[in-house]
Each structure stands twice: as C-alpha cells, then as structure tokens.
Amino acid sequence: MTEEIIIAGFGGQGVLSMGKILAYSGMMKDLEVSWMPAYGPEMRGGTANVTVIVSQERINSPVLKMYDTAIILNQQSMDKFQKSVKPGGILIYDNNGIIHPPTRTDIDIYLIEANKVAIQMKNTKVFNMVVLGAFLKVKPIVNLDDVDKGLKKSLPERHHHLVALNEEAIRAGMEAVKLQQKAQ
C-alpha cells in the first residue's frame, strides 16, 4: 500500500500540521512516511501545501506530480491541484470560498464543510482536524488509535489535554463528509 497525498490551502489553516499528524499516525502504525512542504516566504493568508506519502515500502521521491488524493482548501489550490489527481483518485474539498467547484468526472469527489463544522463546534482552530476526519473516513489508512498516538507524539505535553477535542473534531469530520460524485 502506498498513499500519495497533497494537502493544499491557505497558510494558517493548519495544512502543514494536519500533514504532520497524518505522517505521525502512519509512523505509529509502523509505516514509512514522508512530509514535504512547499516552503517559501509563505505566511498567514498565502498559500501553503504539503505532500504526505504513507507507504509499506521505502519511499523514493518525496515530491510528485500526480497524487492518489488531493485535499483542497481554497480556490488557488483547486486551480493548481485538481488536475494533479490520478484518474480514479480522490479529491476532498471544503467549499468555503470556492467559486469554481471541481469539474473532473474521472475521480471521486467528496465535500467536507469543515469550516461550518468547526464553527458549530465553536472552535475554528479544529478546522484541519475536521478535514483529517473526512479524509480518514474516505481512506482509512490509519485508525483513530494511531492518530491519538500521533497527536500525543507531535504535541508538547502541555497541550495533551487538547487531544480529546481534536479527536472529537476528527469524528465530526468523519460524519460530515459527503460523496458528491463517483468517478465515471
């Protein structure tokens, strides 16, 4: 099993940390992982993206042109990465701020209104965990237990009381994700 994922959105949305938690969770399951950010003079409000690869085998290239799954969280990223999903692959997106929804018909498209869910939870900071939940529902490459361990490993101890809240957000994401279109 090899899962090649791109997560893309605005800086500040938690794109990089979501990737990190996913990578950590994979590591907890004894899988090989790589986390490669597109780094640059990026800042809050700019675009941010990260390539995460989780595999049973040794990972060669940490950067790719085509992905199994694209998680897209703003319009710029939609424009840039919609075409980078392998045919038959998966695109998950939040429609908040999306003017041009995805148009491809050869991939599975899922909608996660993560922003809405996070607002309902009265904590917009868990936005990225809602998205992670959506992804894990669609592609259960790691289970909640691994994520739990991954969270504990990636968060400093003083933040461990937040693990439960994050878990709640992941569950909410798992419930809220909707299949919009099946690949034809």
Binding site: A23, S34, Y39, S61, M66
Partner: protein, 386 residues
C-alpha cells in the same frame, strides 16, 4: 531498535550533534537551514552535555570559531546555506591547510548570489573542486534521507578526526525541510579534557606538557620548500582517503541498460523515475554517490562496460556530469538533465529526459547497423558481379 521520531532533516542534524558528543556548534541563521541553530538553541544542550551552542555575529565568525575549537582538539561544527558557505570558504581553506578536523553542513539553496531559498545542488563544484584557495580537498558526504542526515553527523566527525581533515555534508533544502522517520542512537558522552589530550596530544593546542615540544597549528609557511613538502603530505592523505573512504550505492543496476547517476534529493527522484520506467519495460538503474569526494569513478567506469548510456541528474545546470564524463572517458554517451534556481525536477520529467536519451542512442545504433548492413550488401553484390 532506538527511539523513532518524525523529524525534519535539519532537526536530525542538530539532534545527532548533541547525541554524538559534539563539543561545539557555531552558526548563523539562513533559510533553509535555520532549524539546525533553532533546534540546538531550544534544546540548550550545555547544562546536560556541556556542548556549546553559539549564534555567531556572522558566518565568517562562526567558521573561525570552529577553527579555534578544532585547533584545541574539540569536535566542532558549523552549518549554513549556499551564500553563507561562500563566506566561510577562507576559513575552510585555513582549516584544511592546518589539517584540522571539523564538520561543515551546507543545506544548499538556489544560486547564484542570494538566489532563492528553495532546494538546489548547484554547489557541487564549490564542494568538491576547491571552493576556497589552494590545493585542498574536503571529504564530502551527500545524504539523501533524513536518517542519513542524522547518521552522517557522527560519521562526519569520525572521518574528520581519522584524517584530520574538514568534512562537508552536502545536503539541500528539500532534505533539510522534509520530515521522515529517524531512528535515534544512544547518547555518547563528550570526551573529557584528559581524553581529548590523549586523543589529539600530538597536534592540538591544549597547553604544553614538559615531555614534548609545543604544538603549532597554522596554515602559514613563509618558505616554499617546506610548504611544498606539506602539500605532498596533503596529497598523499587525499589519496589514502580515495582508497579507503569511497561510499556509493547501486540500485537496480544488475540488468540495467541505461543508468542514472545522481546524489542527494535527485537520487530519490531518479528512483521514482526508475520505478515508472520499469513499469513501461525500460531497464533503468542508478549509481548514487554517497561520498562526492572521494568520487565513485571506478564503479561508474566499470558499469560503462555494459551500460548503453548514462544520464546525470542534478538540480544544477550540469556540474557533477563532468565527473561522470571523466569516469566514462568517452566510452558511452553521458548526458545531463537538471532544473535549477530552486526548482525540483519531477520524476516523470526525469523519465522523459531518459526516454529522449534512449531514443537518441538507439537511433544512432540503428543507423550504424543499417550502414553496416548496406556495406555488407554492397560487398556481397560486388563479389557476385565478379
């Protein structure tokens, strides 16, 4: 198995330094390697291991602090990225001239000048063909994973002390910034002052005992004759390093007809290209230099006997390709493919470049075969006429 951690390449270097008993780190921030200094500052190893971590006032100051520390027999290191490494060249040449052990890390970014902050491999010439002035060589290690970034710190120090020669770890922004699994090793305590004297007493400056003459650490010699002698000695040492310390890796070369030569990040990209190519039935392999000095010229020369052509892939305009050509010495076509200025070539574009090379080589071979067949036919016709 040691503790596993998900780390950035830069963080791995810093953690390795603390764990391998490094005495001192001197640095100055520059993207994409600032995490080394940041991590060490946050970890603050001094109260625990006694390791000194200091942000110097400049890159030049940092390398000269390393010069001073290693003159005292200490395990000292510095790190920077391309423009900062250029600033350090004078100091590196002095350290090489004075025959001191030191570890220098270059997390390369796009150039020339201030360039970009994205990954590149355009400092190859600077690393293996001089960089500073004078006839000197660095031992150059080229990691291609976060684990190797970690492992090569201890290895670098080991080689530096074995040969009393500066070691350069030539990384790049991609490996520095990416996160992978790292298996950590146990803490090795720093050497005590007595142990340092025992290990380096014959050359380092830590106070003159009564039983021997004082040690002098210098790269200056006003007489040309002894300086020539010193250079002879250095060249003999580099030869010994070439004989003993070559490291390289071959991947899927057993049946390969076309072979990539690539180091660092590029070697990982090529491995993916090989995977994609093999799915199409192309017999591809890679020779990956791990040490860039010494360079694996002999294995490449040997491979040239059965390989049809080589493609050197670098994130540069074509630097290492010259060494591949020297090794192959005209026996087979050697071409270069690269992106530069901070761009990373994608595995499929590397495969396309390889396919172009294959088409070219095969077209040439076909033409040659056709010509040969035609000549043969003509000869036969002539014979029949007679």
């Amino acid at each position: 198995m040691g503790e596993l951690r998900l780390m950035k390449g830069n963080e791995a270097i810093a953690e390795a330094a603390i764990r391998c008993g490094c005495d001192a780190y001197f640095g100055y921030p520059i993207t994409p390697q600032s995490e080394i200094l940041e991590y060490l500052t946050l970890e603050n190893p001094e109260p625990k291991t006694g390791m000194v971590v200091l942000q110097a006032e400049s890159e030049i100051a940092a390398i000269n602090m390393v010069y001073g520390s290693s003159a005292c027999g200490k395990k000292a290191m510095t790190s920077s990225s391309s423009p900062g490494i250029s600033l350090k060249q004078e100091g590196i040449s002095y350290i090489a001239g004075a025959e001191l052990p030191a570890l220098i890390v270059n997390v390369v970014r796009g150039g020339p000048g201030l360039g970009t902050i994205q990954p590149s491999q355009s400092d190859y010439f600077q690393s293996v063909k001089g960089g500073g002035h004078g006839d000197y060589k660095l031992i150059v290690l080229a990691p291609n994973s976060v684990q190797e970034q970690y492992d090569f710190v201890a290895l670098g120090f080991e080689l530096a002390f074995k040969y009393r020669n500066p070691v350069l770890m030539l990384s790049d922004g991609a490996i520095g910034q990416m996160m992978e699994k790292v298996e950590l090793t146990d803490y090795i305590p720093r050497l005590t002052n007595e142990e340092v004297i025992k290990r380096t007493g014959s050359w380092a400056t830590h106070g003159k005992p009564e039983y021997r003459k004082h040690n002098i650490v210098t790269s200056l010699n006003l007489q040309p004759e002894p300086q020539e002698q010193h250079n002879h000695h250095l060249q003999a040492k580099y030869k010994e390093i070439e004989e003993n310390e070559l490291r390289y890796e071959k991947f899927q070369c057993e049946d390969a007809e076309y072979v990539f030569v690539a180091y660092g990040t590029s070697s990982r990209l090529c491995q993916k290209a090989i995977q994609l190519g093999r799915e199409k039935g192309l017999k591809l392999g890679i020779i990956r230099p791990i040490t860039l000095f010494p360079y694996p010229s002999k294995p490449i020369k040997k491979a040239a006997k059965k390989v049809k052509a080589f493609l050197s892939v670098e994130m540069s305009a074509g630097q290492m390709v010259e060494d591949v050509r020297l090794a192959v010495n005209g026996k087979r076509p050697v071409e270069h493919y690269g992106r530069y200025g901070g761009m990373i070539p994608m595995p499929d574009e590397i495969l396309e470049a390889m396919e172009e090379l294959i088409a070219k080589v095969e077209k040439k071979a076909q033409k040659k075969a056709e010509k040969k067949a035609k000549k043969k036919a003509e000869k036969k016709a002539k014979k029949e006429q007679k």
